[in-house]
Subunit: 395 residues, 4 copies
């Protein structure tokens, strides 16, 4: 039944000389998803983890990841030290702790010379983000940030379309990320959710930092235009909360391209409602994560087009690389994560081999993208506090 | 093939004792559409018109509307006078001139005691709008404003759903009206379009007054919440123009319900992109004019629902009244216009019979809605001029 | 708001020297829809009718159609005689009686030299159909058959696409017409529905003759290929009935192109589920009446395309002619009927002027299509009776 | 961003005491997909393989699967013997060879007492299938067949809906599997495809055995009704081929429920066009693999419903078990394969522990389903040869 995806070996990612070794700090559901994905990439083996600050629990949890007990740590600092001194220590670490711990954990592994892939938002303050960026630069490690949405094949295709110029000069960008899981009364008391509404752990925002940053990264990634200024209004639309559950923003990208952002967790009927629309002088495109395999393209004066990934049909070779199944056989989020881990492996291997990251093969987000995300959060908070006035990202 | 729509006579609009007589001032394409629709309602006969300020041209154009030459006028003032003095003069007049003439034309017919249905925006200034409202009130004529989008069956259904409370308290409203016909280079020189970008004729806005007002009326109509404040940024996204072709707004409705508006004529791939999303504490709904027959409804925790008009299946009796074909046999814009003319006929007949407009039968927009629309435009202009600060609609 | 549809006068239907006069035999809901549509075309005035076999009831019903009482007849024969002898008698008659009366009514008006537009199926037996065709030919009247689905703009576009050769040689055709209004228990006792299940009035089939014929006409109309052979199985899927409510067929079109037909009135969730798929050696297309404004086109190796009617964007000039609103402003079934009445008017006017029907302007179904429809029904009945064996349409 | 899927431990699959060991016979793309999926299930480790009949190539290919060279065999017979005698030999084998080898390979592992998961069609003749079924029965091994489509969460949900009775008695079933990858001229010469059109390797059919069987399994799996009779017509719609590329069938399921099947590889614009529609006396449902996360449900008289998997919202607990990501975060084919390997692991573990396969946890296809698939192919071939007459599956 499965049409074998036609493989052009010249279009594949270069083979690694050996599978890379991955460690985990964190260990919740999102670590599990990333672990699946790392394994799906065929390029990583998960071999170590600090899965709890209680060593015993860490060892227990390690069984879910098939990690040997002797490489399950109760302390990320210790893990960084031991793993970096081992002969066959980890090549890289995945940081999936709550936001407020990102900085310290990442700093420890940077110091140990271990490559890092860190969840977003990078840190809870801009100062921390800049400090981390400096450390990463000084040490020379590869530091990826998990804006995973940029790794869907059709998002990559969208980016190529904009870059190709067929839309002409971009003149407006609209992005939204709508979910609805905070609708139920009392959900803010759910222990899995509570930390996301606690400024001490989540940082100065909840919805904006968690899903708004994904949306903004996506808009910049696809359009190739940096966000420069914004006006933001935060709202608590549902039950009272300490942090916003909804925010609306007016945006200005480079070249004075205007735009908008809507983000909410109370938009009933939206689950993975991440939607991007980019309009230019000749055409426009639209992508929606809930239909992640279909990219809508309109060149004014022609019929609407829908590009689906796989095997030609308007899909670029560099996007084909990111596809695992034949056309019409759906892929989803875990495959996007696997693409992120594939590209991360290429970067990590390049550093191992003292080569530059091959720009034609790798487009995964870097720590600079993580810093931009934190700048965005800070600007949004500042604008909201001042009644929604314009704030520059480099204020 | 056609499943006869099941007719419940108790659910139908009351029969008129005779078809009503309609006059036209204006005479472009939109007059033709409305004329089709008036005739489709089965309640109106078009019998007179001032279709050009040149009497000869008016008579010529009259043939397209099957109007006798002796009732084709070159002067709307004269038309108002003669028709109001005739035994079988017109019952009502449709005003479809460019925006800047609405006031004088409508005032002439009000003065003549003739009922009016006027295109939006009602007038180009708030002063004119209030003056006209006063005149209409003093004279007692029926004065409808053609926010025709409110006459799609599924928009009516949306309004009933909100009113029923199944969405709980509304907590955010998003509306957009995106088109793309201003994309082509040089289109602003097209004679049919030129007036829409000329402040002297179009008023202080182009896109905002023309399609933004539709969007805002729709949001208020469905949610039952008045717009109270807004922040607006106007843009010229395409070729240079004297008026905006794009605008983004942050909204505040009654009960401090927040919202957003996006409107543009350069959103390639959007034609009739009027989309409304209303979210509440229990659920949300979504309607999109390009798929006007499908209303999406989500009650959190239940499967998504899609309501299609006709014959039960979640459709209210008061909405059934507005449907002409069996389920699955599509209707469109002209049918929505016909619904407007049906309801307008009920109002006009009620005045003829010295009865109040029957509130259970009629929900067509009134002059008060037209005034609100002008207030909205003025507030948007003022906000944009002040860099996008909050402006009250009753500032 | 409304982008004026750009009018190219060279692309419009020729103006008539006067509105044509239409009579009605029948007078149910479908007559009302057609009457609306005739009026929407701007080319017809309904002036006479035999709306009931009881003259008094006919006059009463006439008021719904704005027909003067003195031209409301209780006898279609009388109507044909009187109208044909009048100075300003009807130019054409619409036949919308139950199926078993089509032959006699149509024959009466043919004899009177009056043009006819008749509902499908043309007659209940092939003998009657052929007799009627002979009479129409001998008399020279224009005889249209109301396969109205062929008058949707996107169906016309589909036909042009096939004819253009971009799909290459056609290699399979699938068509279905699924509805669900016979699902409710006991509906077969509903007086409006009863005749559709009574062989004496409905003819030898119910679902096949009523909606199956639409589907088959559509498949032939778009593909340009005549149906030559079929195998049919009839079913009663719901409550017991005297005629089938469901049928499945295997088809063979000209050039031995294979195909399938599914038709049912018990397919819950389908209302106007008329769907056509045509596949060729280079590409395929798909149309679905419930989304009548979107034509899907796939040229293998290119992105999927969606053509929406109006103003260029892949739409042919000959299709543009059939459109009344700007792009994105939906049209539906009544507009398709209006297109049928527009084209019929061109044919009728041509006969009045002793000109041939202009083939470049008119593609409405003719009596020959009606005869083919009856041949299809007879073949399906014969095949079903013989256990679903192959039957030629010219057996 | 990711709403953690709410885990109810009582609703999860029972933990295994150790990961199970999987071997592979075959080694093409489909083996790679299954291997990814087995690993994604978290329950399998791939440790051995006969990946080519040339031992050296087998060892080379083994590197893609991270299999140690000393467990890469050039002979499946040898592999069965050695692995079954090892202390830590494989628990089960995946058979992914071309169709004509399934029987011998599976028989070898059955004989060695190793559990089997085998691609479909099970074998190329019914005699072989029955023989294999007998051997499996005699030996007591678990024998799964990879009708993977039955492992999409929304397919499971569809099955539960039918079983719940909310659709009432089923009255018709339509299924189709349309692809388009055989459209390009000359593709039948492609070495990866050639075997699929060679009767010696593909068996008596190409399209019917490869994708038609998936469709038929799906129809039976969801409806709970066995296929009893069929009429089939095979076609070569594109370039000349030795086996059919297209087939149309009329079906009869248990309880005389009628249905249809369309399958083709020349349906341009269809990629994974596996679509199932089941209609009953109270409602209907529809599923389409290209939109695998949305199950359409219609209960007559109510609004249409769309069920999306994850976290309640109309999804059953037994279906929740098969979901890996939060609602709105798409999953696809590989996840469906992972579900199959999860369930297979439960069955294999049960046999290891001398327990019966837990029927409440496992619904993966068994060898009996594989035999039914071969019966279906044989009946279709026989019917086609006899001009499309009715053939019973147990003829």
């Amino acid at each position: 039944m499965l049409l074998p995806k036609e493989i052009n070996p010249d279009n594949e990612y270069p083979r690694l000389s050996r599978p890379l070794r991955l460690g985990i700090v964190g260990g919740g559901r999102i670590a599990q998803t990333q672990s699946l994905a790392a394994s799906m990439s065929g390029r990583w083996t998960v071999v170590a983890g600090a899965l709890s600050s209680d060593e015993k629990k860490s060892k227990e949890r390690g069984r879910d990841f098939n990690i040997n007990a002797d490489r399950c740590y109760g302390d990320f600092q210790l893990m960084a030290e031991i793993e970096s001194s081992k002969n066959e220590g980890i090549d890289a670490v995945m940081v999936t702790t709550p936001n407020h711990l990102h900085r310290d954990v990442a700093a420890a592994f940077i110091a140990a010379g271990i490559d890092v892939i860190c969840d977003k938002p990078l840190t809870n303050t801009l100062a921390d983000a800049l400090d981390l960026e400096q450390r990463a630069q000084d040490s020379g490690v590869v530091f990826a940030v998990s804006y995973v949405m940029s790794c869907y094949p059709m998002v990559r295709q969208a980016r190529e379309i904009v870059a190709s110029g067929v839309l002409g000069q971009i003149n407006q960008i609209h992005v939204e990320f709508l979910q609805d899981w905070m609708v139920p009364e009392g959900i803010e008391e759910n222990p899995h959710i509570k930390w996301r509404l606690d400024p001490a752990r989540s940082g100065p925002t909840s919805c904006v930092g968690d899903i708004g940053t994904h949306a903004i990264h996506l808009a910049q990634f696809v359009s190739g235009l940096d966000l420069e200024r914004l006006k933001a209004d935060f709202h608590v639309c549902g039950a009272p909360k300490r942090l916003e559950d909804t925010a609306f923003m007016t945006l200005e990208f480079a070249d004075q391209v205007p735009g908008t952002l809507i983000t909410s967790r109370l938009a009933s009927g939206n689950r993975g409602g991440l939607r991007l629309r980019v309009f230019g002088e000749l055409g426009g495109l639209e992508w929606d994560m809930e239909n992640c395999e279909r990219l809508k393209l309109n060149i004014f004066g022609k019929p609407d087009q829908v590009i689906t990934r796989g095997n030609g049909h308007g899909v670029s070779p560099s996007v084909e690389r990111l596809v695992r199944t034949g056309r019409g056989f759906p892929e989803g989020l875990i495959e996007a994560w696997a693409n992120l881990y594939t590209e991360f492996s290429v970067s990590v291997a390049a550093r191992r081999d003292r080569r530059a990251i091959p720009a034609d093969l790798v487009a995964h987000p870097l720590i600079s993208d993580g810093v931009k995300g934190v700048r965005f959060i800070e600007a949004a908070v500042a604008s909201n506090e001042r009644g929604g006035t314009w704030i520059s990202l480099d204020h």
